[in-house]
Symmetry: C2
């Protein structure tokens, strides 16, 4: 089996690739397991060294739109595409045209390329909880379900929601077997801050654990819907392995989320790494970021995901401990217990 | 005030233009009424003669995408755009790429052109009840509201729903003051059949009244959501006159609909024009058309539209009588009462 991961050298794409390489085979859309022969990572940058060292990894380096347009992005024998590449929420808010190109146009071009294959590949589209947005004119319901009407309050959310519609229609037309999953905010992301409005939801843990200062730009009572990197990758893979019948409707599936306030996140950090860690968090409100993040929902009823056997992370403390274990070099403070 | 109507030479666009010319002025988005100086009709064909004779009518003839791209489609002093141009449902189902170009790409290009004006014109986007679609995997609720999740079951519905999202985001960004209205199936349309799957919902009245045979391709119990031409135009104009506060959320507004079965439509025809009229209807099932039409909802709770003072037509009999009065040359049978 041959797999393409767009945005495959990003944090989530690389983790997905590692997980797939480790399991070695996949039951594609409910079929019998087949060995994974090749995973192509399409991204602006080269794959991380550990992935490059695996003979099953191929790479397509460049702008996704140009890669696909020039025929290099999507190998003709691709069975499964994970479409993760995207401009993030902060970027799309700052540069409307960039978001339309990277998120909408690139998705259209990828779908057309899949259609041209004629082989109906499975396509897992990473949508986002950001399709849901609260506004004074249209308040969000207290709990989000799989059939709640998305009312995105930022361009990123609009573009992801449009992507869901395109994937649904291309599935109905028989161009792909599409599965859109709405990813929750992933925390704790390793590495460096990015331009996502949600970036601090990793940074406020990651930086203190590394002995560095971090800021929390939203009020302590702000509730968020989180998922660990491991749980998020599990959701993406399950979307690929579900049979058409298990998957059901062509609308997007909300992945499960752990609901927690940023205050509780800091408390969990303190239990794991002591008050020296939380002392490094500066609570500095940023109206621009707060406006985006507080418009997202925090309570998600992930009924369809649960039907596929997916569950939310058990606790945020467990998420922090897993991060510390997986990224020993990035943790300078002592982790207790 | 200067107005652009895309698809302005189609039946609905021309009727809208006539109504606007007749009223002579408009309260744009709640402001004081201003005289209508010019209405530009952008379409592939030339305006009907009666409109061409009015000095306030200008025309832009050609493909909308090309007109806009070449700077001819959207005059720089435009205050209000009615975006009605679209490929219809049957066409989009038969030719996916045509629908994507005419409905999605043209809407994107028009929004970019409005943005480039820098004057934040009001833009009324004609979406459609076809954004709602019933499927075995995701049955429609018995009654559709303004917050029901659309699950389009055809490409036309998907493209209209995507258009709503683009209009909402361009409104949020301050590029336009957008108002998306979901039009119900318009009946009775004068003129000739078109490629819309709903075309027969006018034809089964119009053709018998003209003494010609017509077919009804769906079972008699099929319920549909209809609006007369006059009531539909009233909804479009109200979308332009509502203040931002009256309009409310940036999501689309369902226009009111008269719910009726095709059998009841035939019965109303018989009351108006006698059994000679209904004898001309052949009940010939067409699976392809029935599949599209029966996937649309028939019961619409148009709460926001009612808040704007809009109501459904009182009866289908009244709709037929209005058609006969407005189109005397097209009616050969005697209309009673």
């Amino acid at each position: 089996m041959n797999i393409l991961i767009t945005g495959g050298c990003g944090f989530l794409g690389a983790r997905l690739a590692r997980t797939l390489l480790q399991q070695g085979s996949l039951s594609l859309a409910g079929a019998a397991p087949r060995a994974i022969n090749r995973i192509t990572l399409a991204d602006r940058v080269a794959p991380p060294e550990d992935l490059r060292a695996d003979p099953r990894i191929a790479s397509a380096e460049g702008d996704l739109l140009e890669l696909i347009a020039s025929g290099q992005g999507l190998p003709a024998d691709t069975d499964l595409v994970f479409h993760l590449a995207a401009a993030v929420s902060g970027e799309c808010e700052a540069d409307f045209d960039l978001g339309m190109r990277s998120n909408l146009e690139a998705t259209q071009v990828l779908l057309q390329a899949c259609r041209a294959l004629g082989s109906k590949p499975v396509l897992v589209f990473s949508s986002s909880v950001a399709v849901f947005g609260d506004s004074p004119e249209q308040p969000l319901p207290p709990v989000i379900t799989d059939t709640t009407l998305p009312t995105p309050q930022n361009s990123y959310g609009i573009q992801k929601f449009i992507g869901e519609q395109l994937v649904a229609d291309c599935t109905r037309k028989g161009f792909v077997r599409g599965r859109s999953v709405r990813l929750m905010t992933v925390s704790v992301r390793p590495g460096r801050p990015n331009a996502a409005a949600s970036s601090f939801l990793s940074g406020m843990l990651r930086e203190p654990l590394a002995g560095q200062r971090a800021t929390c730009p939203v009020p302590p009572d702000t509730a968020v819907a989180l998922s660990s990197p491991g749980n998020t990758v599990a959701g993406l893979i399950r979307a690929a392995t579900a049979s058409d019948g298990e998957w059901g409707a062509r609308t997007a599936v909300n992945l499960p989320a752990l609901t927690i306030t940023v205050r509780e996140m800091a408390q969990a950090l303190e239990r794991v790494a002591g008050p020296a860690a939380t002392a490094l968090i500066a609570w500095q409100p940023d109206a621009q970021i707060a406006k985006i993040v507080t418009s997202w929902p925090s309570r998600i009823q992930a009924t369809r995901a649960k039907g596929l056997g997916l569950e939310a992370d058990a606790s945020f403390e467990a998420i922090i401990r897993a991060y510390a274990q997986e990224n020993p070099d990035a943790v300078k403070l002592e982790v207790r217990g």
